[in-house]
Structures are given as C-alpha cells and as structure tokens.
Subunit: 102 residues, 2 copies
DNA sequence: TGGGGCTGTCATGGTTTCCTGACAGGGGGC
DNA sequence: GCCCCCTGTCAGGAAACCATGACAGCCCCA
C-alpha cells in the first residue's frame, strides 16, 4: 500500500549529504560501523542515526557478526537500487499518497 | 560547481507529499497560485513556500501576468525533468559535495 | 462605499530533524 | 589491574522545517 509514501521516504533518505557519502563509501564494499565512522570523520551516534534511516528506506543492510571469541562487529552494506523519476512517474505516485494518517 | 549539492537540493525538493501533489497537478497544465491552492485544498501561504522550494530547485517556473486591466495573476508551470539514480551515480555525486560551506 | 478576487510578506508557534557528549556493556591484551 | 576496541542508547540543545492566521496592496463590479 501507498507506493507514493514509499517514494517520499526513499527520496527523504537520499536527500542528505551525509547519507550520500555513506552510500558512496559502502558502494566500495562493506565495512563495520566504527571503521566507517572513522573513514567519514563523523560521530558514531550520528552515523548510527543515518544508518538507521538508510536501513529503514531499504538502501542498506546491517549484520551483527559475533566472532568465535565473543567480540562482535556490525557489518553494513549497500543494497543496489535504481530509481527513474520524471513528471509522469510523480503524477502516478501522487495518486497513491496517504491522505493524512493518524 | 557542486553537482552533488544540486542533487541533494533536488531530492530534498521532491521529498515531500505536498510538493509531489503540486507537481502532479501542474503536470496536467499550468494554473495560477490561488486556483492551485483551492484545487489542492491547502493554505495559500503554505503553497507559496512550497512553490518557492520547487522553483529554487528548478522544478517549477512562475510568471506574473498582468492583464491589460491591471489585475495580475501568477501562473506557475512544471519544468520537465528526468532523474536516474543508482549507487554509481551517487558515488560520483558524493565526490562533488561541498565540505562545509559557511 | 462595500465586497470580492488576486498577490505578497510577516510574526508566530509547533514539530521534526540534526548533532554532540556521556554512558553502560562486552571482549581482548598487556 | 589498566587501556583499547567494539556495540548500543540516552538526554539535551541548536537549527531547520511546517503550517497558520493576519495584514497591506492592487484590481474590478455593483
């Protein structure tokens, strides 16, 4: 349901310099969170939030890997996608927008 | 300069139910502001703000038409566009992001 | 002179987003 | 014991965004 709402969510997830950088970094291969934070030079809690947004939008997947020694590392990786947008697509999407939930 | 920043601005402009509805309405043809506000059932100042965002992103153009009798009406119309986005495109765009303006 | 239509802008709240420092917990190696 | 690395969550404040009502200005028609 609500294809249009999904589009809005996807666009909102992409409309952020930080998140674009995150996706670009992940396009090169998967890493774990702390390493990614270091590479991008951003606060880890901040990165966390953005990763959650990206994951909620289905653009990223996370996997918590626990080594045999018990220490755990969370690997995160980008989900391939393709988006094509023009006025027609928007017109179609707008018809499936939820009026006003809640 | 800063192709990536433009992309972010474009995405941000599109990531809104209201603005998608506005674009959908304009895709059917140009109208003037008050009429559009009536058709979409939204506050005129609110519509104004959203139109400004869309115009700033280059998705819409406005033209203030002054009739021979002196009364003026602002016609607004959607600018055709096409956007194709995937991980590669994002990787490229991310490289042209402004670090931290201001 | 009043009423209606249109365009713009403003002051004002109310949310939401964004970002940071701090903390708790787990595990390792000196 | 101390130090370092990892994960996850929280409180709190700054900043941006949304949305509304009200106003001033201009025009027409009756």
């Amino acid at each position: 349901m609500s294809d249009g709402d999904d589009l809005v969510a996807l666009l909102a997830a992409l409309a952020s310099p930080h998140r674009l950088r995150i996706l670009a970094a992940l396009a090169a291969g998967r890493t774990y969170v702390s390493e990614l934070a270091r590479r991008l030079g951003m606060n880890r809690p901040l990165l966390y939030m953005h990763l959650q947004r990206l994951e909620a939008a289905g653009l990223v997947t996370g996997e918590l890997v626990t080594a045999p020694d018990g220490s755990s590392v969370k690997y995160v990786e980008a989900v391939p996608f393709a988006l094509a947008l023009d006025l027609d697509a928007i017109t179609r999407a707008a018809q499936t927008l939820t009026d006003k939930e809640r």
